[in-house]
Symmetry: C2
Subunit: 357 residues, 2 copies
């Protein structure tokens, strides 16, 4: 049976970077007989412009029937004046929620070839290899009540609710502990248990689940300290597990440590390893259409797809090795360019990876 | 009339660092005839141990009747098993709230003498001078409903509520715009308006208030991007204004850019510039009692107190210059020590500042 991939290029640089990832994946598909079929659909601002909604039912159905989703990026200033419910981001959040993709894996790896691209000193970041596990379908992103209402005194009041149940925390805890077992067996759970009761529950469930994984060393850290420690001594971390909002912030910090968020892939998985794969960077409307975006985060997202959803570790490693080879050959998109390197376009970088496969 | 300062040394390294700040302040008090009187009280874990509550009524009354509060730090592992309502942090949060200290100023300045202490490359951080204005009495720190309850299906559910009214946003906006006017006239408001309705209200009120400050250039940034930009190119920022929780995280990142959070003071002001002053670092229980903590953040907090509450800019500058002179003389506490410097104790550093006054 063919394995279906829903391809949602989205907005901004989305279409450009997704094209390169598909180029790479198509090659492997033929070369290794992977049996993958692709189907495109609109999401985000592009879908809003065409259908008046950022997540058309057809797109959602396609994703539900697919084995994996490849997403570019959504959003841009063009759609910022829109009401919340039809913003491009709602499309992305809608798929995460509808497909129950609660476990978001965000590796932050510093490629040795890019150590100079980091704003941190080489000794602080060289060899960096962190995995952030972010809860993706709960917390303040989805909690009710939410919205803006007019209070009795006539002024507007805005509300969002951070809410987690034990079972929501438990399932992301298991995801994180299992990943830690396959890595260096160190898991740091990040919360704000000294202030927020919801994260006190988070901490106690993490501790409880930890008893089932005695081989993993569990620690707890407050989110402000964790953000600071990522800048002070990031190599102290192996796997970090945290809530939706904190994970959003911490994963962007971790990404930036590696020199460019143009390099970092992500996987968002449900309980059966069905998943959505996307670069962690955004739609970068300022550089869209210029052919200068870095496609490596999306190409590496395809590698994660092959590993996690399609159980093809060999194909995944081929891509990862090819990215390494491309970087060795000194080709660089603008975001990771430094003196002495060869500046290439989006498709130039895609070609470099393809040639190295 | 004498000006009253409530001195709350708190837990961990609190008493050690506060002692040095008082040493410096007492000298100036006599030398410049400032007319300050000091009164000590317990807070946090120390207060819990003595009275069973982290914020005894006597302490709160003292603070309410004082013109300014000098706080060391609260908390430590000893009190972590306690119920939320009596944790040391509740003492701190209680004063912030009871005294209506809604405007929290957290400057992040890199001292040129410490550029090597930063984990970021010198060209990225040298000359760094950011002011973070954090809303301190609202948002998810104080929102109701909050707590952990048992749902119908028998599982526990944790809830905290992020809530802001227009007037709460408006008053912190005015604080921030006024500060920006006295600096480089650039204000970046940080929110997550693409996901959270409450921060959409935040953004629109910021924009509205901004019309009253046409000389200040207002921009908006999502919190994940802001965290990333602080690591990528921190010098792009002048003043940042944000909510309680985001400010907690961003100010710790900004602090870390400067090489050590042992250097950074803070002011928490009400509408009449009555304020609480404290280092932004915590109680560091791991090094408490060893006489090695850095007292400069607390000493610099006293400078902020003289500037903001007592309107003594000259006295404030004398302290700030003395800190600079002390650093020029190469004395360093352990947290900012590097080769070729002279390692000193907490009181050694206090003496160095005193001698430089
Ligand atoms: C676009 C936005 C809704 C999204 C998020 O906040 O989750 C993005 O920042 C991310 O991290 O994937
Ligand atoms: C101790 C804690 C309650 C406090 C906070 O979260 O506000 C601290 O982290 C701070 O930033 O002052």
């Amino acid at each position: 049976m063919p394995k279906k991939i829903a391809v949602l290029a989205g907005d901004g640089i989305g279409p450009e970077i997704v094209a390169e990832a598909i180029k790479v994946l198509s090659f492997l598909n033929t070369n290794m007989n992977l049996g993958l079929v692709f189907e495109n659909a609109l999401i985000g601002g592009a879908a809003y412009d065409a259908f008046g909604t950022p997540l058309p039912q057809t797109t959602l159905n396609l994703c539900k029937n697919a084995d994996a989703v490849l997403l570019g990026a959504v959003g841009g200033p063009k759609w910022e004046p829109l009401a919340h419910a039809v913003r491009p981001e709602r499309g992305l959040l809608g798929i995460r929620s509808e497909l129950n993709l609660f476990s978001n894996l965000r590796p932050a790896i510093l490629y040795p070839q890019l150590v100079d691209a980091s704003t941190l000193k080489p000794e602080v970041v060289s060899g960096l290899d962190i995995m952030i596990v972010r809860e993706l379908t709960g917390g303040i992103y989805f909690g009710q009540p939410r919205g803006v209402h007019v209070a009795e005194n006539g002024e507007k009041v805005g509300i969002n609710t951070k809410i987690y149940s034990e079972s929501e925390i438990r399932r992301i805890a298991h995801s994180a502990f299992k990943i830690a077992q396959k890595r260096h067996k160190k898991l740091c759970s990040v919360d704000k248990a000294n202030v927020l009761e919801v994260t006190e529950l988070w901490r106690s469930v993490m501790t409880e689940v930890g008893k089932e994984y005695p081989d993993v060393q569990l620690s707890h850290m407050y989110v402000d300290n964790a953000a600071m420690q990522l800048v002070r001594a990031p190599k102290q971390f192996d796997v970090i597990v945290t809530s939706n909002m904190f994970g959003d912030i911490l994963s962007d910090i971790a990404a930036m440590l590696t020199g460019s968020i143009g390099m970092l892939p992500s996987a968002s998985l449900d309980a059966n390893a069905k998943g959505m794969y996307e670069p962690i960077h955004g739609s970068a409307p300022d550089i869209a259409g210029q052919g200068i975006a870095n496609p490596l985060a999306t190409i590496l997202s395809v590698a994660m797809m092959l590993r996690y959803t399609f159980n093809q570790p060999e194909a995944a490693e081929r891509i990862e090795r090819a990215v390494n080879t491309a970087l060795d050959s000194k080709v660089r998109t603008a975001d990771i360019y430094s003196e002495g390197m060869i500046k290439v376009s989006t498709s130039g970088m895609g070609d470099a990876v393809l040639n190295a496969l």
